[in-house]
Symmetry: C2
Subunit: 331 residues, 2 copies
Amino acid sequence: MPSDQTDLPTSADVFTAAQNIAGRIHRTPLIRSRQIDELCGANLWYKCEHLQKVGAFKARGASNALAQLPAETQMVATHSSGNHGAALAWAAAELGLACTVVMPETAPLAKRAAVAGYGAEIVICGPSQADREATLQKVVQQTGAHVVPPFDDRRIIAGQGTVALEIMQQCREQGFTPDIVIAPVGGGGLLAGIGLAVAALAPDVVVMGAEPAGADDAQRSLRGGVHITTPQAPDTIADGLRTTLGRRNYAVIKRTVRDILTVSERGIVEAMQLLWTRTKQLVEPSAAVGLAAVLEHGARFRNKNVAIVLTGGNMDLNRIADLFVDEEEIQ
Amino acid sequence: MPSDQTDLPTSADVFTAAQNIAGRIHRTPLIRSRQIDELCGANLWYKCEHLQKVGAFKARGASNALAQLPAETQMVATHSSGNHGAALAWAAAELGLACTVVMPETAPLAKRAAVAGYGAEIVICGPSQADREATLQKVVQQTGAHVVPPFDDRRIIAGQGTVALEIMQQCREQGFTPDIVIAPVGGGGLLAGIGLAVAALAPDVVVMGAEPAGADDAQRSLRGGVHITTPQAPDTIADGLRTTLGRRNYAVIKRTVRDILTVSERGIVEAMQLLWTRTKQLVEPSAAVGLAAVLEHGARFRNKNVAIVLTGGNMDLNRIADLFVDEEEIQ
């Protein structure tokens, strides 16, 4: 299927992306917590992408996409209810490009404020995927904007993969090799990019994905060998992981990722609380899904060196209060 | 007054403390946020003592005190409702010493859990300062434990001052000199220690304290020139700053600290929210008091390089929810 293969990103694209975005993004810290290690019986390192520009790894992909725009592009656009919109708005502002972000009316106010804060125009649409795409299509017809999709895109996947190049380098600097690299999977841009990077750099290192049990299309796709594309309406606190796995993402993940584990909602909240109290890092629910997988599938990680990507730290502060109401109820 | 002077800590004690505790505590990061800088019109650096051992700068003083115990001490004790108790419990466990912490029945469960988690014995007492001291006295009579006070102690002040040695070194590494170093003041161990360190290293750098307006005994003492020792019952969200300024602390602060600024409760919550959302660092209310002072006394900091000590990150997660109820009400 040449048309399927030719637009797939490669490991080389990840290395190129690292050059494209060097100096534009942060080399985020790799931290650890002895207390959580003792609790899990494993050696865990956390890659702090909540400390990345715009507070999420999405800055990597957006920055890489804008580094290779078609000549004379003056405007970019996307649809997003979350961090990709903010990342594209930020990256466009850095280059002096106009940017429009189509956002569903259900998007959190904090996310709207972030997009507006970077100077992008916001077009509000209905809550469904179809609403978003139709509205984005209209924007493109009216303005000729170049579309940068949130995850199913060669440049985006390659950009997100740069996080794994840094992880491998930082592990070397700290004198160890990870046995496992684990990252949350929603649309699959991050996980596919990590798969490509690790396959090239350290093929013995196992790459795993983690997703909420209530949004398990990636696990079912990978384990069943058939890409499930039915749009879901997943009910999970991990708002960044509600999207369905992309086509390119699936194609890369099935070649480079060992397995995808699912986690419970309770596990996500517990992992987030552990990260908050033990590392004092304010990560968002989606970012806790990797640690939740280690907590809930302990046997697979026992005594292993595990690098876990903390993907972002953007959330409405009011939602924090809601979470702890939930916590009280489940305890 | 020789009896007053001879037990006062000196700048040399701070340098000795740094040697005493080297390798036992973390060299915490010095971070910044461009967004908060723009909001404040100043260049702000945050010293991350919430990432210190036990989640607070208190590990420095406790560690220094235990490095110079009387010969054959086998047991230490203190009274504390907060981070000093956890710090002493941790430092004692590191040295294999027994430790008893007298805690008021009103101490947060999270603090009790931390003290117990480090293996110390907890003796619960009534809520007043008199209750605490009487109970500690009983413990000492029964056990012969050596008392390590929370702040009014030469070794504690010198230990806390080591944070300023690191700040000055990290500023040099980053190629600038701070104009101002600002830290919260409760009992005054941290602020006095910083005053001693900066006086020796960089006497042109201004040291300032910050405290809640509802617990302003340090400001009144410093501005009035008379040490106010009346116990207060201050009503502030900054639970770490409810104590009254110590005798040695006052004596050092009046010689080394330029001024003490007060901040409102609303300002503390706003500063904490800014730190949470912009730096993704989960600091406790007391730790936000330095930034609150910059926000509320902007003219004194305009265009200045300011190092702000984030003192700790320990709080009941349930209290987070309560805080945001407060936030909703004040907005």
